[in-house]
């Protein structure tokens, strides 16, 4: 916990004042004790004088010490109501105690110088301070001594009580002085500093615009100069802060513009990326799709079939190929032009798609040559039905505009692994079957066995691997 400067100054001064007060109190206590002791001696002197007077009066009645009756009461009477006096007694000249009253004992001061007839003696003995007053008969005959002992404990108690009051008064003065001093220090130091602290604390990063104005301070002391210096600093800080704010505003504006620009460029870039993806997709499609019919092309189909054949081999599942080629397409192309020819290809592509199952894949290998790969047909008769449906598609004339065109088809089918255990042999078997049926005028034909392509037929094999653009 931090302590304010005025309070700190106050506490320091209080400590020094307390040290001084302690020394003064100790000295005061010493003098007070002497004063109380002298006061007690004075009272004891009076009491001893009174006791001696009473004894002398009785002696004047021709009485001796032994004749005094109840003189203890007189001893008690002279110290009654005075707590500073402890004992009172009457001694004869031989030091024998005749009468006594009090809470303690009085030891006769053997070696003390005893007082004369009209004198009083104060002696210090082991039993305390004693005051001796002679009991006189006539004009000078000392018959004994009235002795009064001082109550040292009460003297000390009175001293401590006075010291206590002294300390209490001093403490009260200290407190009053502390409060007044605190008020003065607060006005001179604490309040200006508090104002500085409040102003400094109010300068927060989120409050850059408003800085409270420091009230004027007329003082020319250190605090006043510090206060004004801080005030000037605040003013300069305020001006610098305004400049900074202006620059920040400009910078923020520039950043905003730049951000907008970047956002626009980013949008363009994103658009370009999207466009590029679309183009890539389009190119990818173009690479695997026949642009005329939208069917898979040779580039797609060959790798696909190799993967399928590999899967079929691994899983021992049936796989078949149907290779078909239009009969009379060249004539249409030559007669009606390529546009009509393209229309025929598109129409037949659609018809072929309609008979294919979900798992079948239809591709245009090139020209009027198409390929259907099918799966799941274990037996040849099952593939026969598919081939017949393909052939039947060509029974219906093809309508292109006002034209009704009639085409034929040659279909060669081959099954894996019966007609070939790889793509090349399988394709060759289907091609051979197709070529054979074409020689017969069209229809469909299953390959009969594994295709044996003799070396002389390398040209044929080669032809199987390349697209053929016509139906010859």
């Amino acid at each position: 916990m931090s302590v304010s400067l005025p309070l700190r100054i106050n506490l320091i001064s209080l400590i020094f004042a307390a040290l001084v007060a302690s020394v003064l109190t100790a000295l005061g206590g010493f003098f007070l004790h002497h004063q109380e002791r002298d006061n007690a001696i004075a009272r004891a002197t009076l009491a001893a004088d009174e006791l001696a007077t009473r004894a002398s009066r009785l002696i004047a009645f021709d009485m001796g010490f032994a004749d005094f009756l109840g003189f203890d009461e007189q001893c008690a009477a002279v110290i009654r109501n005075d707590p500073m006096l402890r004992d009172a007694a009457l001694f004869d000249t031989h030091g024998a105690q005749q009468y006594h009253s009090g809470s303690g004992t009085i030891i006769w001061p053997e070696y003390a110088q005893l007082p004369e007839a009209d004198d009083t003696q104060t002696v210090t003995t082991p039993s305390g301070i004693l005051v001796l007053n002679p009991v006189v008969r006539g004009k000078g005959e000392v018959l004994g001594f009235a002795v009064v002992a001082i109550n040292d404990a009460v003297v000390m108690e009175a001293t401590l009580r006075n010291v206590g009051w002294l300390v209490a008064c001093a403490a009260a003065l200290f407190v009053a002085g502390l409060i007044i001093q605190q008020g003065i220090f607060w006005r001179a130091v604490g309040r200006p500093l508090a104002s500085l602290v409040r102003t400094a604390d109010s300068i927060q990063p989120d409050k850059l615009v408003e800085i409270p104005h420091l009230p004027d301070l007329d003082s020319n002391d250190d605090i006043g100069r510090l206060y004004r210096a801080f005030s000037r600093l605040v003013q300069r800080l305020l001006e610098a802060r305004r400049d900074l704010l202006t620059q920040n505003e400009q910078l923020e504006h520039a950043v905003q513009e730049r951000t907008t620009e970047l956002e626009r460029v980013n949008a363009d870039l994103a658009h370009d990326i999207e466009r590029r993806k679309e183009l890539e997709e389009e190119l990818r499609k173009l690479a695997s799709t026949d642009p005329l019919t939208g069917l898979a092309n040779r580039a797609f189909m060959m790798p696909y079939l190799e993967r399928r054949i590999e899967q079929a081999r691994r899983h021992r599942t049936p796989l078949g190929l149907i290779l078909l080629d239009f009969d009379g397409f060249k004539h249409i192309n030559d007669t009606y032009g390529h546009a009509v020819g393209d229309g025929v290809l598109q129409t037949m592509g659609l018809r072929l798609q309609q008979i294919c199952r979900q798992s079948d894949v239809l591709a245009r290998l090139g020209g009027d040559e198409f390929l259907i790969s099918f799966e799941g047909l274990q037996e040849q008769y099952q593939a026969d039905a598919l081939c017949r449906r393909v052939v039947s598609l060509f029974a219906t004339p093809i309508e292109i505009g006002d034209l009704k065109l009639q085409l034929g088809v040659s279909v060669g089918a081959a099954l894996f692994p019966n007609n070939g255990d790889d793509l090349t042999s399988l394709m060759a078997a289907a091609d051979i079957a197709m070529y054979a049926i074409k020689q017969r005028g069209g229809g469909f034909l299953f390959a009969t066995s594994s295709a044996k392509i003799p070396a002389a037929n390398d040209a044929l094999a080669h032809s199987l691997r390349r697209p053929r653009s016509t139906d010859q």
Partner: protein, 337 residues
């Protein structure tokens, strides 16, 4: 009626006093004392009166009635002498003391122009008709019976105190005796076994000797008028001396003169105090022009314990130091060396 009388008296007094002061003449005062001027009791009262009056130039003429030593005829003659002096000299004030002077002189001047101030009177103010007089006031003597009994008990604690009281035929003791009886009526711890009023000194002796062992103490009030075989009264000093020598009983009285002459103790009525109070009353009348009727009679309240230590020793009574220190102690008899 009384108010009118007082008014007339005040006017007359004022004129008389004024004329005296204008002429520069000293005040004239007649002092009528019931006893003789060589008796300390009278001397004390006159001394106190002078102190209270505070006028050193006042002329005081004294007439002694000496009632303790004169018979009735002689007393009447002395009273006539005093009356004549008053009437002829016309004093500004008359100061009387004790009861005899009131009975023989003061009563003759009730409601006269001359103011009267008395002291040492044992009877009541009204007993002399002074309650109807506008010119008489004074100091009543009231003995300290209760205080004296307390002092007696301090010396010798006795639970139930048996007393005998001795009187003579002086009418002074009528008032004293009645007040003692009134006090005794209120107390249960004191019993008066016998009231003695012997006629002769011999009778006194025999009665006193008979009392030994029967009572604890004897109150000696009237001891002035015990006749002797040869005629006359036995001197009270002789009576008291005999008592001190022959009585083993504690005795008490109310006057210092008795203790000085052997009576064991007394809480005394002070003659000086009574005279001083009477002097202050006279000064108010003469200087402040206050009517005597406006000054009510007073009784002195202050009593002084007094002990004859010589008598105590003779009786073998040890006395506590506190009692001795609080009393006036007489270590020797008056007849001692």
């Amino acid at each position: 009626m009384r108010l009118s009388r007082c008014l007339h008296y005040a006017i007359a007094m004022g004129l008389v006093t004024l004329s005296a002061w204008v002429q520069g003449e000293p005040l004239k005062i007649v002092h009528v004392m019931s006893y003789s001027s060589d008796w300390a009791w009278n001397q004390d009262q006159l001394r106190g009166f002078r102190e209270g009056l505070g006028m050193t130039d006042a002329i005081i003429r004294v007439v002694e009635l000496d009632a303790k030593h004169k018979d009735a005829t002689q007393l009447k003659a002395a009273a006539k002498e005093a009356i004549d002096l008053i009437e002829n000299w016309q004093p500004d004030l008359v100061y009387t003391n004790d009861d005899v002077a009131q009975a023989e002189v003061s009563v003759k001047f009730i409601n006269s122009k001359i103011p009267f101030v008395y002291s040492g009177v044992n009877k009541e103010h009204r007993d002399y008709g002074f309650d109807k007089a506008g010119n008489v006031t004074g100091v009543l003597e009231r003995e300290h019976f209760a205080g004296t009994l307390s002092l007696l008990r301090e010396i010798k604690p006795v639970r139930n105190l048996r007393l005998a009281i001795v009187l003579d035929d002086d009418p002074t003791w009528v008032g004293v005796a009645s007040r003692i009886r009134a006090e005794l009526a209120r107390r249960k711890d004191v019993e008066v076994v016998e009231w003695l009023q012997p006629k002769t000194f011999e009778e006194y002796k025999s009665r006193m000797l008979a009392l030994q062992g029967k009572v604890d103490a004897v109150g000696l009030l009237g001891v002035f008028r015990f006749t002797k075989p040869g005629g006359g009264y036995a001197d009270y000093e002789e009576v008291l001396h005999w008592t001190a020598d022959n009585s083993g009983l504690m005795d008490f009285s109310f006057w210092d003169t008795r203790v000085e002459r052997g009576t064991l103790l007394a809480v005394t009525v002070s003659g000086v105090e009574q005279g001083r109070l009477a002097g202050r009353m006279a000064r108010r009348i003469l200087v402040d022009k206050v009517s005597p009727a406006s000054i009510p009679p007073e009784a002195t309240a202050k009593g002084q314990p007094m002990i004859s230590l010589a008598r105590a020793r003779k009786l073998g009574l040890p006395i506590k130091s506190s009692v001795l220190l609080n009393a006036q102690v007489l270590p020797r008899f008056a007849w001692g060396s």
